[in-house]
Every structure is written in C-alpha cells, then in structure tokens.
C-alpha cells in the first residue's frame, strides 16, 4: 500500500498548543474501503488527529493526504471528498431537519432538485421523516446524532470521519448507527472512527490504531492486539470462599503465573500458556484437594485488557491483584 493509493495517510504529523504536543509524530495509513478505529484514552490526540485530517486544524509539521489530496495544499478538494460527524452534533438547531440537509447539500453545490430528493431519502433512511419539519433543537440526542450522520452522507463521502459517534447513545440508536456505517463501507466508503468504546472498535474496525500521547503506539486487527497484550487467561469460581487460598496456591503452581483473586465473586484468574493441558491438570488437582468448582473458562484477553496493556494501566484497576 503506497501513500498515493491509501485513503488516509499521516506522516509524522505534529500539532502543538503552546508547549504541549497534541500530536507528536502521528503516523497513520488507512487502505480504501476499510474501517480504521482510533482507540485511546481521553486527551490522547484522537480528536486532534481527526480535526487535522478533516482540514479543520492546521498542523505544525509532517504531512497528510486524504482521498488522494494533500490536506495542506488542497483543503477544498479534501472537503469535497469527506464527511465529518463529530462528538457534538454539528447541525443548525434552529432549522428543521429537512432544512438542515438541504442547506448542507446546497453548500456542496448540488443541483437543488438533487438536494431535495437526497434530503427526503436520508430522512427516510434515518427514521426522521416524521420529525423532518421540526427544529433540530427539539430533537432527542439520538435523533440529532442521526441527523448529523445524515448530513455527512448527502454526497457519498470517499472518507468518513466519525469522532466518537455513539457517545451518549442508547443501545438501539447505537446499533442503528453501526448498521448505517457497515452499509456505507460495503459501498466503498473508508471510515476513520475514534472511540472510547472498545466494543465499538471490535465491532466495526478492520484495523485498530491505539493512540497515546499524540502518537500511534500499536496497530493491528483487534485479534492481533489482543494476542500481543499477553496470554489467554483461565478463570474459575470456587464454591466456598474459605478454599480460595488453597485453590490460588494450586493455580499458581500449575500455571506459573500471577493469580488474581476476587473474593467478592470467589473468582481466581491467571494467565495460562498451554491451555488445555493446564486446564486438565488444574481440574484434577482441585478435585484431589476436595475443592468444589462452580465455573471454569478459558478466554482470550479482551480488547479492554489489550488497551490497558498497550497504553499503560493508569486507571488503577490493578487494585484487585493479590499475590497468592
């Protein structure tokens, strides 16, 4: 994949505010027709990256291309090829839903008949036909977000930027939005999605870039990132809390890893390398020791764990870690 054929390319992009670098050597390559998830803690630089790529923000160093156009030299060509749906619904709150779509369509220089037809199609597609004549200011959060996405789709964007598109949405609206994004991608649109929801990246993104302190610190499919963040884990729940210490000692001897104990739910968990052998051995040992087990699972690490592993665990969640 060369820089010329990629839908989004950033090379060494740097953006500073005073002395703080919001982007500090940001690199990204998104192949056309794919969904790239930008995942990172608050303040990692995800939104700054989107604003730079969407021509809203000038940057200090590096270069960026979107849909084949240089972001600095031909911003208006980039703007014609992109759609942007931000964290805060960027619609005119006084105008009605339909007036919003017509306005944004006309500012894209489409013939007015095309604009009106397209507005009606989008209102229908996003379930806003009944509310089409009402001020967008009276819409619920979910409706506003749908209108905002519709406003980005008046022309089919080559590249669509979604900046935390489902923050604050109920599950039904969120699923609807995900479906709409999948349909777009099936039609060939490239999507760059920032999200704090690991599930969202897992669901939608072909590849995930983990952003921390203004640069991409890890990149891969969500399966690759999970694999990189460490071994599978074995989790078991014992029936009697009193047997937890004995069970923990057994688990530690067999897996050789640090055992995590959660007394509340009587759960033990530990990383495990040779999955099935260790599982069989452990169950035998527990049975011999007379420890009743209620539940056992072997599972791959969640994207959540991968994320914390890759960005450094700053949330203090390790509090439940107890050496057995």
């Amino acid at each position: 994949m060369t820089d010329e054929t990629s839908a989004v390319v950033a090379r060494g992009v740097r953006k500073t505010y005073g002395r703080t670098a919001a982007l500090d050597g940001f690199d990204l390559t998104v192949p056309p027709g794919t969904v790239c998830g930008l995942l990172g803690p608050n303040g990692a630089g995800k939104t700054t990256a989107v604003r730079v790529l969407a021509t809203l923000l000038r940057f200090d160093a590096g270069h960026a291309r979107v849909a084949g156009h240089d972001v600095t030299r031909h911003p208006e060509r980039v703007r014609a090829a992109i759609g942007l749906t931000g964290q805060y619904a960027a619609v005119d709150e006084t105008l009605s839903g339909r007036q919003n779509l017509v306005l944004f369509g006309r500012l894209r220089h489409l013939p007015s008949r095309t604009v009106r037809r397209r507005a009606d199609e989008l209102l229908d597609q996003f379930g806003l036909t009944d509310a089409a004549g009402r001020s967008a200011g009276t819409y619920s959060g979910g409706m506003r977000r749908r209108l905002d996405l519709a406003a980005s789709l008046i022309t089919r964007p080559q590249v669509l930027f979604l900046d935390e598109p489902t923050t604050g949405l109920d599950p039904r609206s969120r699923n609807g939005l995900w479906d709409a994004v999948r349909t777009l991608v099936a039609d060939g649109t490239t999507v760059l999605l920032t999200t704090q929801y690991l599930e969202e990246a897992d669901q939608l993104a072909d590849r995930v870039s983990v952003v921390d302190a203004g640069r991409v610190v890890a990149e891969g499919t969500s399966a690759e990132l999970k694999a990189r963040s460490g071994a599978d884990r074995i989790e078991l729940v014992v029936r009697h809390a009193g047997q937890l210490p004995t069970a923990a000692a057994l688990v530690e001897r067999i897996t050789g890893g640090t055992v995590r104990v959660d007394r509340e739910i009587r759960q033990l968990s530990a990383p495990v390398a040779d999955r099935i052998t260790a599982l069989a051995e452990l169950l035998r040992a527990l049975q011999d020791a007379g420890i009743a087990v209620e539940d056992v699972v072997l599972r791959r690490p969640t994207l959540d764990e991968a994320f914390l592993h890759l960005t450094g665990d700053r949330s203090g969640r390790a509090g439940t870690e107890v050496a057995a």
């Binding site: 014609a80 992109i82 619904a89 944004f104 894209r108 379930g127 008046i154």
Partner: protein, 286 residues
C-alpha cells in the same frame, strides 16, 4: 433506520470544490454567501418573536425621541424637530443593529455547526457574507417600518423619490460597514451574552456625540467638531440633505462635504474591518 442500498447517491468529488480561477472562486463565494443569507433569514422566520423585537425598537425610538424629547429641542433655521430627527433615528437604528449582528455571529462561532461549515467545500467567507446579507435585508425591513412611522408623525421626503432612494442607499451602506464591525466584535468576544453588554456602551456615546439629536453647531465648539466628523453624522447629514429635511448647516468642512464622507467613511471601514474579520474567522479554533 433501514439499511437500503442507495444507488443514486451523488458521490463526493473534487469537482464540487471551488475551482481555482479567481472569477469562478468569486462566483462560488457569492452563491455560498447567498445560501447562507437564506439560512439566516429562515432563522428569523422560525423565531417570530425576534421579528416583533426588530420592529418595536425603531418604533419606540421615533415615539420617545420625537414626542418626549422633541418638544424641548431646537432646530437650526426653521423646521420641525421631528422632521430633523427622523433621518437620525434611521441611522441610530442601523447602529443598534450591530449588537444583533455581533451576538448572532458569536452564537454561530460557538456552536458545533461551524465545524460542519468549515468541513464543507464551500467558500470560507460565506458564513460572514451570509450574515452581512441577512442583516442588510433586516435593515431594509426596519427602514421600511421607520419610513411608515415617520410618515405617520409628519416626516416627509421633499426632493423626489430618486434622492430619497439615494439617502436610503447611503444609510444601508453605513449599515453594511457596521455589520462588518459587528461581525468582527462577535468573533473577538465569542460569548453572545458578553457581546450585548459591550455593544451598548460602545454605541451610546457614538450617537450622543453626533448630529442625530442635536445639530453640531448648537454644541460647544470642540464637541461640535467631534460630532461633525463622526461617521454617523456624515450619513445623517447627507440623508437630511437628500430627503430635504431641516437641520443642515454648520460651516465645517465635514458638514460641507457630508455626501463625500457618507460614502467614504463606510467604504473605509469595510476595507479595513472585513479582511480583519475574515482573517479572525479563519483562525478560529486553531
């Protein structure tokens, strides 16, 4: 939310971006500015209480100043104070419109929708020119109401329709300059509440130190000189001249060349302020 595959969706292409020739660029800037003017006018239509506000202020000006103050005011030469006053009220209404311009730009600039405008392949100037366009239309409406009020309280234009239209044109030209001042203010103080607080102390002395209420020659000499050179005074004096209303005179150069200044001041203000405002807008949120 259905997921029907749409086959006739226009695709985003570079051709929808403004082409690079200066003339075509200008054409797109005008088209986009006009679309944004339409957007701002729709705002007015959707909040009718604002229309009432538009018209109540000018009507109040005519009644309060014409009848309450008018009884005790003198006019140089011979003439009715109300006829002297009306061109001044026209111009003062234009000045106070600056507050609405500034706060509406501040509201726009503070909202997420400005991000959408900035991410569209539209002319960068359109948000500002659209504001100016809508405010000129609003000024035209206000002037119509004022003219009707004026006719009701005995004001007349006496030099024919052509001169009257020229006077209205000069007043609108001043309004355009004040609009750009309002736009710049709204961008510099991007908080709608602060803006309206700032505008009054700015506008009030400007009207007091002008020929709106009192002829400059009736003021102490140094005050009269300030009043005579005030951009508002130039437009008011030129309008009084063109309408054939009383209150002309004073021997100062500024008073003698009111027509020249009524064109020169606004043009100068626009030439200085409009580029500053566009620059400021382009630097928003960087």
């Amino acid at each position: 939310m259905s997921t029907t595959v749409e086959t006739r969706v226009p695709s985003g292409r570079a051709e929808q971006a403004p082409p690079s020739g200066p003339l075509t660029r200008l054409r797109w800037a005008v088209v986009d500015g006009w679309v944004m003017t339409g957007r701002n006018m729709r705002h007015v239509i959707r909040s009718p209480e604002e229309i009432v506000l538009y018209f109540s202020l000018p009507i109040m000006f005519v009644l309060v100043f014409g009848y309450v103050f008018g009884s005790g005011m003198a006019v140089p030469g011979d003439g009715s104070y109300r006829e002297f006053l009306l061109p001044g009220v026209f111009v003062m209404t234009m000045l106070y419109g600056l507050g609405a311009t500034a706060s509406q730009i501040a509201v726009d600039a503070g909202r997420g929708v400005v991000d959408r405008f900035r991410s569209l392949p539209m002319a960068r100037s359109a948000l500002l020119t659209g504001r100016a366009g809508a405010d000129l239309l609003r000024a035209l409406l206000e002037l119509s109401v004022l003219v009707v009020c004026g006719l009701l309280v005995g004001w007349r234009w006496r030099n024919g329709l052509g001169d009257a239209a020229a006077a209205v044109g000069l007043i609108l030209l001043l309004r355009l300059a004040l609009t750009w001042l309002g736009i710049l203010l709204g961008l510099l103080v991007p908080n709608p509440d602060t803006v309206s607080v700032i505008v009054f102390p700015l506008a009030f002395p400007l009207t007091a130190l002008s020929n709106v209420f009192v002829a400059p020659e009736l003021l102490p000499e140094w005050l009269g000189a300030i009043a005579a050179w005030n951009p508002l005074s130039a437009t008011v004096a030129a309008a009084r001249d063109l309408f054939g209303n009383p209150g002309l005179g004073g021997g100062s150069w500024a008073a003698e060349h009111a027509l020249l200044l009524a064109v020169g001041w606004p043009v100068l203000l626009i030439a200085v302020i409009a580029p500053l405002a566009v620059r400021r807008y382009q630097r928003l949120s960087r």
